[in-house]
């Protein structure tokens, strides 16, 4: 059904069905992949266009992992080498390698979302092993019930060290973990009192790290009576987590986080978030269910949600390389990590516990200059060691039958935007011709990447 029924109220998150006004076209296929999965190469776009939305979304929410054995093995080798070296730079490179070559791009996108939600910085943790372990939790529980994710992340040494769990002891509370858990990880600001935080900190006393694992030291735990969010009792840390998970505000914050990641600016109103939150409560905060519901929704494919979200640096970098099939052989992911940092997203080093602000804040002048310079580096093959000539013209010829610059521009516009807006094509062609460069196909693609339109997904 395409037309909205005026008399009966449709569910807010009703599924998308192609229709005359909202056809399943290349624009929507591109939209799906740029928003939910670090973009996709041309063969995937063509496949999904032909197969329809159900199959296309199946591919993201239930990826075919059969062929990913070699990838996982290689990724583990790279990760082990990174942690053995103790180098945070190599750890960043490891994650970018995963994003570039994974068969489950939505899984990596969600891991990135959780990295921002539970923003933890190696600046203080100072331990790539712990940072990597935490990152694996984002992958393992990234689509699980939120309660499992929350407990796993909070009771992991990276978070315990980051938020000073060890200095939170009976009689000497440190509110850091309690405050951020309530303000950022679960309830959200305005849904608790300062007294609740004090009492929650007491409930969390005794949590610490022993060896390389979570431990509860009973002697440091304040077993006295507490009152948190109206609940009284000798509440423990685990009791606190249960209590927080029951709160409607937690479901609402979870719904907000998912919508903030998958939906664009102004694409939905508060009532849609509230409705998703309600359903999440009924589904025991099943993250995977909510993600799938959003991706399959009419709202997700509505015009208001198209090109309405600023791509983050990792999405920009990884998406460009995936779409252009420049991920095999992968570029130097160490260099890619430097580039995303220059664009404002230093992986494993979020600016603070609140994470990156995302959205419009990704477009500070210096960050835009970094995006344009990355585009130049990509086009000139400087992302690889040793530098190599990128065969972009050849790609346009193979997939788009492009024999000249203009035809290549038309194909790039389809690959990146799903349509061939004349302004995009004309301006890029004029610029590329003016540039009079030797590898004009590559130059052309750099100009596309630097355009304002490309910054949106």
């Amino acid at each position: 059904m395409c037309a909205q029924n005026a008399t009966t109220r449709e569910p807010v998150w009703q599924p998308y069905e192609p229709c005359a006004e909202m056809p399943w076209n290349l624009e929507r296929v591109v939209h799906l992949h740029r928003r939910a999965g670090f973009a996709a190469p041309w063969p995937r776009l063509e496949h999904d266009l032909a197969a329809g939305p159900r199959v296309a979304i199946d591919g993201l929410v239930r990826p075919d992992q059969a062929a990913s054995g070699d990838f996982e093995l290689m990724a583990r080798t790279i990760g082990d080498a990174a942690t053995a070296s103790g180098s945070a730079e190599r750890l960043k490179a490891w994650w970018l390698y995963r994003m570039l070559l994974t068969a489950d791009p939505l899984g990596e996108r969600l891991a990135l979302m959780w990295h921002n939600h539970f923003a933890t910085s190696n600046r203080k943790v100072q331990d790539p092993v712990r940072m990597r372990e935490q990152n694996e939790l984002f992958r393992k529980y990234g689509r699980a019930r939120f309660g499992e994710l929350l407990a796993a992340v909070l009771k992991h040494p990276a978070m315990l060290a980051w938020l000073d769990a060890d200095s939170n002891r009976q009689g000497h509370p440190n509110e850091n973990l309690a405050r951020e858990t309530m303000e950022l990880f679960t309830l959200g600001i305005g849904n608790y009192s300062e007294q609740d935080i004090k009492e929650a900190a007491r409930a969390l006393t005794g949590w610490t790290i022993e060896g390389n694992a979570f431990a509860l030291v009973e002697a440091r735990h304040d077993a006295g009576e507490k009152s948190i969010l109206g609940r009284r009792g000798t509440l423990s840390g685990d009791d606190l987590l249960r209590l927080l998970l029951e709160q409607p505000a937690t479901a609402k914050r979870l719904a907000w986080r998912i919508c903030n990641t998958l939906m664009g600016e102004g694409a939905i109103d508060q009532s849609a978030v509230a409705e998703l939150a309600e359903s999440l409560r009924a589904k025991e905060l099943d993250i995977g269910w909510a993600v799938e519901t959003v991706l399959r929704s009419r709202l997700f494919f509505s015009p208001a949600n198209m090109r309405s979200r600023v791509l983050g640096p990792a999405e920009f970098v990884v998406g460009s390389l995936r779409a252009l099939e420049l991920n095999e052989p992968p570029p130097s992911t160490l260099l890619l990590a430097e580039w995303t940092a220059r664009m404002g997203q230093d992986l494993f080093y979020p600016p603070n516990v609140g994470g990156w602000n995302e959205g419009r804040t990704w477009l500070a002048s210096r960050m835009i200059v970094a995006r344009a310079n990355f585009a130049a580096a990509l086009a000139e093959g400087r992302l690889w060691h040793p530098a190599r000539q990128v065969q972009i013209q050849e790609l346009a010829r193979r997939h788009g039958g492009a024999n000249d610059l203009r035809q290549a521009a038309v194909w790039f516009a389809k690959l990146f935007f799903g349509n061939e807006s004349p302004a995009n094509v004309e301006e890029a062609v004029a610029a590329a011709e003016a540039g009079a460069s030797d590898h004009s196909g590559a130059h052309l693609v750099a100009l596309f990447l630097a355009r304002p339109e490309y910054q949106l997904a």
Binding site: S167, N357, L363, E427, A430, R451, E453
Partner: protein, 400 residues
């Protein structure tokens, strides 16, 4: 290399666009409105600066006695008055002093001084003696959190200029601190073509308009930045060709380009002079003195000096008595510098008392948090109580 220059020459469409100048004019005006706030620039003199050979009590016999090898020759010093003088290589600082643009607070430290570089620096950077708080939030990060909370946004931010890790002083719960190491980060290597007419009017323009405007402004800004930067090479105000000089030059460029940061932070390393101190220390102080002189002159020429105050501190001074390696070991209190048109120029506090020492070290006259308190309340406009957790009698480091 994609030929950016050739590209820009050829991109006539850019200059033909009738809409572009208006957009840039609008955003330029907006940038001024956003960027006319007071700015604090912090220079960390890393390693423990020898205060006695910086602001020298040359007339005190005890100085000559304590410093038989490291004593600086009286006739080469830059006299501040008949008792005190600046190190011979601090000509630039002396000019600032005479010009009413330098305030020197003497004997600045804190109770129960710690001689570990690491811990003492953490104390200065967090304003706290609680080790548990030394890895959380810095005094400037907390200050910006307060600014943002009062305003209900996250516009106040800090920039660290340097290769090193962002110092804990800038760590915040919410406010952003970004690091910038290279001038190249501000240069555009690709000249994209931006011709599409964009309506830049209105603060709440659509996302597409916002993105177009941001991108246009960034590219135009990068152009301006590069032009300014090359102009700078030949301008009357020259920055010394030193690490600190180029870092201060970059900070000046950022301020002049309308960046919105309220706090800039950089450091000059090398002050840990345990041996053969004379030459090293002279070089460091020359770099420091010439660097801040060039910086302040540059800002003055740009008519921005009313908006900027520079603070320079070190984690501790050094011992009064030199050691046997023609150097000095870790000590306690030392001078703090404040520079700019708006500082309370002159000397604050007394010349160091070299007779009544504590364990061979200078006794502090002033808690560094008294200076912070003044900068927080009278320059950044935030409550010192909220940032420092206590209330201190403010040292009057700013002109009234």
């Amino acid at each position: 290399m994609l030929s950016r220059r050739r590209f820009l020459q050829a991109s006539s469409l850019l200059s033909l666009s009738p809409v572009l100048p208006k957009i840039l004019e609008n955003t330029a005006r907006a940038a001024v409105a956003e960027g006319d706030e007071r700015v604090l620039v912090v220079v960390q003199l890393d390693g423990g600066n020898d205060g006695l050979n910086t602001v020298v009590p040359f007339a005190d016999d005890a100085y000559a006695k304590a410093r038989s090898k490291l004593r600086l020759e009286t006739d080469k010093l830059h006299k501040l008055h008949d008792q005190l003088a600046l190190h011979p290589s601090m000509k630039g600082a002396k000019q600032l002093f005479d010009d009413g643009r330098l305030c020197i607070a003497q004997g600045v430290g804190y109770p129960n001084p710690d001689r570990s570089h690491f811990r003492s620096m953490r104390i200065w950077q967090t304003g706290s003696f609680d080790d548990d708080r030394h890895d959380s939030y810095g005094w400037l990060g907390s200050a910006l959190d307060e600014v943002n909370r009062d305003r209900g946004d996250s516009s106040a931010a800090a920039v660290y200029v340097g290769d090193e890790q962002t110092p804990v002083a800038l760590w915040a719960r919410r406010s952003e601190a970004t690091a910038l190491a290279r001038i190249e980060d501000m240069k555009l290597e690709l000249g994209p073509l931006l011709t599409r007419p964009t309506d830049a009017a209105g603060k709440d323009a659509s996302l597409e308009q916002f993105v177009s405007r941001q991108v246009l402004t960034a590219y135009a800004g990068a152009e301006t930045f590069e032009r300014r930067h090359s102009l700078l090479q030949s301008a009357a105000t020259k920055y010394p060709d030193t690490t600190l000089g180029s870092r201060l030059g970059l900070i000046s460029q950022l301020i002049q380009s309308g960046a919105r940061a309220r706090v800039y932070y950089t450091l000059q390393s090398g002050y840990d002079t345990h041996s053969s101190q004379l030459y090293t220390h002279a070089r460091l102080l020359r770099e420091f003195s010439e660097g801040i002189k060039a910086f302040l002159d540059d800002l003055k020429a740009a008519k921005l000096d009313d908006r900027v105050v520079l603070l320079a501190f070190s984690e501790f001074g050094r011992r009064v008595n030199e050691n046997d390696s023609q150097g000095t070991d870790h000590g306690t209190a030392g001078p703090v510098f404040l520079a700019g048109s708006k500082v309370n120029a002159g000397l604050l506090g007394n010349a160091p008392d070299l007779v009544n020492l504590a364990d061979g070290d200078l006794v502090m006259q002033m808690d560094f948090r008294q200076i912070y308190a003044s900068l927080l309340e009278d320059w950044l406009g935030v409550s010192q109580l909220k940032v420092l957790g206590m209330t201190f009698a403010k040292t009057r480091v700013l002109a009234t």
